[in-house]
């Protein structure tokens, strides 16, 4: 009888059910002490945080090796990013005057050409249009072809007008120009429309390639960093096999065991990020003189854009995050295998 009641109590305890006053009191006590584990966790977090840091400082060679690999992996996409940013800065400085040259049909009169110009002027992105009359167009043509003043052109009376369409350089993008060109062709009355491809547009294409490469290379190297940190943490777990075992045997929770490894990954990431930052700055410094010379030669005021506060933060932050993630994966995979 007594034994039965006793087991009932055991079951109640297991399920956290409390009916009697005494039990309720105990439950209350539990609730108060509920905060205690939180402060414990905070304390151990802090300890793991600085002890893993100290641990890495104590073995500078291996720390430098791993951070070096991470640093290079992070510096490459970072350098590419700076390259693109700088190309963009160059592009911004360059006079951007994309223009279309339109030749009307020969039968279109100057008056009709002017009407056509008005229509085109309403198309998006078009800033201004210059209409060259067949006469002045003739002069232009003579000049281009290299005919003398008195030489007669064949079919001189049937000359086209020329429309030079300028775009608003601030807002226009190459694909918009292409769309405008297609629309003009649809309007009729035109013999041909030519897009004047400038060096700036080629630069623009280059920037686009660069932007995509950052994504691709960035992703590849991010995966690389994950693998490096994951492998490093795996080795750390293996070398601390006994320690993990003992801590688990004397009542260490999985979270307790996991924590130092996570922080270790975090520090690898931080150091790697710092190194990447240093590498990038060095590269920028190394390049700044030739770039300044180039700017002077091309009569431009151009300062090499370097990593600002925000991108430095993003670089080091994402590196730390990758370190944390890498160790997270590794810890998840390998720590469970260490069971007493």
């Amino acid at each position: 009888m007594a034994k039965r009641a006793w087991t009932k109590q055991a079951v109640a305890n297991d399920l956290g059910i409390s009916s009697s006053k005494a039990n309720r009191k105990q439950a209350h006590k539990h609730r108060i002490s509920f905060l205690a584990p939180l402060t414990q966790v905070a304390k151990h977090n802090w300890r793991a945080f600085y002890q893993t840091l100290l641990g890495q400082i104590r073995k500078p060679f291996s720390t430098l090796l791993i951070s070096g690999i991470i640093g290079i992996a992070m510096a490459l996409p970072c350098g590419l990013y700076l390259l693109v940013i700088n190309l963009q800065a160059i592009e911004d400085q360059w006079p951007h005057e994309p223009q279309l040259t339109l030749f009307t049909h020969k039968k279109v009169s100057y008056f009709e050409a002017q009407n056509l110009a008005k229509k085109i002027n309403n198309l998006p992105g078009v800033k201004s249009i210059k209409v060259l009359s067949p006469g002045s167009a003739m002069e232009e043509y003579r000049h281009i072809v290299g005919l003398g003043k008195n030489e007669l052109l064949p079919e001189q009376k049937l000359l086209p007008s020329i429309l030079i369409i300028a775009f608003d350089s601030q807002s226009i993008k190459p694909d918009m120009i292409k769309r405008v060109k297609e629309k003009i062709e649809h309007l009729g009355q035109t013999e041909s429309v030519h897009l004047d491809q400038t060096a700036v547009e080629k630069l623009y294409k280059l920037i686009e390639i660069g932007e995509r490469s950052i994504l691709v290379i960035g992703t590849i190297f991010a995966v690389g960093v994950l693998l490096i940190v994951g492998g490093t943490i795996r080795l750390e777990i293996q070398s601390k096999h006994n320690e993990i075992l003992v801590i688990k045997l004397i009542g260490g929770t999985n979270a307790y065991v996991r924590r130092p490894f996570l922080y270790s990954g975090f520090w690898h990431g931080i150091f790697g990020g710092l190194l990447a930052w240093l590498l990038t700055l060095t590269a920028v410094m190394f390049l700044s003189n030739p770039v300044a010379d180039f700017a002077q030669l091309s009569n431009k005021i151009f300062n090499l854009v370097t990593l600002d506060m925000q991108s430095t933060g993003i670089l080091i932050g994402s590196s730390a995050l990758l370190g944390l993630l890498g160790s997270w994966f590794s810890v998840g995979r390998h720590l469970a295998k260490v069971e007493p």
Partner: protein
């Protein structure tokens, strides 16, 4: 305190280490678990500390059915037990003091409390003066005592010891057994697995003899004192 109800344990290899064991250890009792090598003594202790789970049967610890202790709660269960291992499992990259302080740190004691309790535990086993040494600098008897200090640093209600005198000479062995007697005298429940019959037979405690995973005899202590 500890109850086994018809407990079976077979390892994945197919070996039946425990074969229908029922057993009860009262609060504040001290008992020996004995039997030849391979009889299942270590398995018995591992089931209590949830290093292993029974294949069949129930184990109650402080009135809690261990079946209800989930994987995540195992750590908290182990904090209630002071475990001593045959190969003492000390960490050789930490000082004697840090080894003893480890369970306290793991359980989240305050720094002052950690220091106080670890020193008290080391003092109890008479090794406070070695606190700054590394375990490898101590003799095997001293190492075993450091292991005991670590087990008692959190003042658990239960001590489980697996061959604590494993490869020690008789004199050291009896001094270690004497330590366990002292803990028992202040109310700690003690269960010691040992095959050292010469030593055990001189001591007035219950002897549970295991043979091929079954309890062969469960002898109450002599009461002729």
């Amino acid at each position: 305190m500890i109850q086994f109800h018809n407990v079976y344990k077979s390892y994945p290899s197919g070996h039946d280490a425990l074969d229908g064991v029922s057993f009860r250890l009262s609060k504040g009792e001290m008992a020996f678990l004995t039997g030849h090598s391979g009889a299942g003594k270590s398995t018995f202790l591992k089931l209590i500390s949830l290093i292993e789970r029974p294949s069949k049967g129930q184990i109650l610890f402080e009135n809690v059915n261990l079946k209800s202790v989930s994987k995540r709660k195992i750590a908290y269960h182990r904090r209630k037990i002071g475990m001593i291992f045959q190969n003492n499992l000390l960490l050789d990259n930490r000082s004697v003091f840090d080894n003893v302080a480890l369970p306290l740190e793991v359980s989240g004691y305050r720094t002052i409390e950690v220091k106080k309790r670890a020193q008290a535990a080391l003092d109890k086993v008479g090794l406070l003066h070695y606190r700054r040494k590394l375990p490898s600098e101590l003799s095997s008897g001293e190492q075993q005592r450091v292991g005991i200090a670590r087990a008692i640093s959190t003042k658990p209600n239960v001590i489980l010891a697996d061959e604590p005198t494993g490869n020690l000479d008789p004199e050291l062995s009896s001094s270690i057994m004497h330590l366990f007697e002292q803990f028992n005298q202040v109310g700690v429940t003690v269960l010691i697995a040992s095959h050292d019959l010469n030593l055990i037979n001189t001591m007035p405690y219950r002897k549970v003899v295991l043979d091929q995973g079954r309890i062969a005899s469960n002898q109450a202590p002599l009461t002729n004192e």
